[in-house]
Assembly symmetry: C2
Homo-oligomer: 360 residues x 2
């Protein structure tokens, strides 16, 4: 085991943060890396993460008081999904000093993490992401939650996983479409805050697409370092953390407009980024050359299915964006590769025009 | 308006705490005392708190974006109840800078506070308790939550109300049985930590029972001060905060064994205290005289319906107590009036024997 450890102070001040372990062969060492005050664990896993879950079953043998497989489709990311985990955990005799382990993609870590947040008013949990999207983004940073008919992630809690194991072995059976679309979140982190990482990952793009582990670990570790730095300075998203939403305002609208079926999250974010590039050129001085570099990466990660761009369809989802406050809807703009900023009030017309224009 | 203000640091370190306002005529001043970053409020009220809610409607005229009356029976204190508030709040266009106002007893403040904790990953809320139990206990301290078929308050969050208005006018229509049983929580606070308060309230018991406001405000303010001191030193109940559970371990079991219908919460706690007095005499040196003084107060607040004391019925609820950890089930014992301590591992037999013996 040759692992990097990155600390994320994702909780409230004084609260425990997350330790993100990144490296090969971590799954086998789960017993020493995962956190549980009692030493007991409740395994919550996605069907597609079966291989990783099997390794954990071996590593945690004799310490599991629950082994639950959940429906991890976006449609199942609901309060009912949380209730089902809670029912099983309480029936298994969950105590305050036990801990959950979520093995899967972003839906699994979001739902299981939210269940951990509300069970007995909060028990510890751990994440073992089995998708590129969850490794680079979803499992890190303390946001948990579920969807509501009126919008994505409208119910949830800030409740960081205590330990997060990023082991490329967990990706073994990940379908190609998920592997590629998840890399969008890794690049997103580089584009908003780490120009050298963006350059390295661009140069390594062929290796990344070939699932070369060295290149993948470099991008994922870089993305986690970016997120750790930003989240640690603003855990509750009152300011700087909003930078991580680059591409997500329209991305969430595209995703919702496709009924959460037509587009993967990363694909919707890719289209959201393409649109944000348009606004960034208009309002933040992003150069045509750099916008083209970003689009080129997105094109090579794709091709992605086209989103529905109808303004009448997108507008209601935009209006319900969680980041909306009395002062308007903030947007994240790229000034240059490696440097983003928050613009506080971007008019709806500008969003909708960019949604129509953004190309990959 | 002549009000006392008590600060409770009930959140995580660095998080905003609660301001508890105690006095007559506060409801009319709600617009200046309740907290909302946007200035907009969502009113969540219990049917029985209609008079208080009416005053608030007037005080907050033009600033309410939702006016929702909820079912506040203990049976409705469920995750579904939270979902119903969430549905209405999101449909009303809730934003992150809006705030909820919960008007009612403990069920209302527990459920609405929990909804505030998970809506958009946490919005601010305020409490206007309309029962003696909620004034002296439930609305203060940051615990929110709902029941689960396997036990009481098994799902929830620590999410303190930003402002809590304790105005005796809100009690105007409170039924006698609720008024009296709620005082048990006020006396509980005095018994565990404030001997002079306990003495004053004992002497004023006839006035308290006659709803004399001066006596009531003295007991409630004293109880809030006790709770503020304890909670501020241990918001997440890792140590000292457990003292507030005096009478609650068996109290919750009695309440559950009665199907949450036979006994009011305060009545169940009264029986739980009567049982805890037995264990306290056996293990904590509580004198017979002081035990008798406590019982005398409980008798005058009653008479309360008898609980079901069958050990076979109570044992499963005891086993699921949230305070149980790998090291056993902790209990709160009274050493003397005004002084309690946590005993870490009290055997189940001792609990069940005391449940059978405790008399009021």
């Amino acid at each position: 085991m040759n692992a990097e450890r990155i600390e994320v102070r994702a909780g409230s001040p004084g609260e425990a943060g997350s330790a993100v372990w990144i490296g090969r062969g971590l799954l086998e060492s789960a017993a020493s890396l995962l956190f549980s005050p009692s030493g007991r664990f409740l395994l919550i896993s996605a069907p597609a993460a079966r291989a990783a879950a099997d390794v954990l079953r071996g590593a945690l043998a004799g310490r599991l008081i629950l082994d639950l497989t959940i429906d991890d489709r976006e449609e199942a990311k609901t309060l009912d999904g949380v209730a089902r985990i809670a029912d099983a955990a309480l029936a298994a005799g969950l105590r305050r000093d036990d801990a959950l382990v979520a093995v899967g993609g972003g839906v699994t870590t979001d739902v299981a993490g939210f269940a951990a947040a509300v069970l007995l008013r909060g028990v510890a949990w751990n994440a073992v992401p089995s998708t590129t999207a969850a490794m680079a983004d979803a499992a890190v940073g303390g946001k948990t939650g579920v969807n509501h008919p009126l919008g994505k992630n409208l119910l949830g809690a800030f409740h960081p996983a205590r330990a997060i194991l990023v082991d490329p072995a967990a990706l073994a059976t990940l379908p190609e479409r998920d592997y590629r679309s998840g890399l969008v979140e890794g690049f997103k982190a580089a584009w908003i805050a780490d120009a050298p990482l963006a350059e390295r990952a661009e140069r390594a793009l062929s290796l990344l697409l070939a699932r070369e582990e060295e290149a993948l670990l470099d991008l994922v570790a870089g993305a986690v370092r970016v997120k750790a730095g930003i989240v640690s300075s603003d855990p509750k998203e009152e300011g700087r953390r909003r930078l991580l939403n680059f591409g997500h305002t329209l991305g969430h609208a595209f995703e919702a407009a496709g009924g959460y079926r037509d587009l993967r999250h990363g694909e919707a974010v890719a289209w959201g980024i393409a649109a944000a590039l348009e606004i960034s050129r208009d309002r933040a001085g992003l150069s045509n050359e750099e916008a083209a570099r970003v689009r080129e990466v997105l094109a090579r990660l794709g091709p992605f299915p086209q989103p529905r761009r109808d303004p009448a369809l997108l507008a209601p989802y935009l209006a319900r964006d969680k980041k909306a406050t009395a002062s308007g809807r903030a947007g994240i703009l790229l000034e240059a590769i490696g440097r983003a900023r928050v613009e506080e009030a971007i008019p709806e017309e500008a969003w909708l025009a960019a949604a129509a224009r953004g190309q990959i």
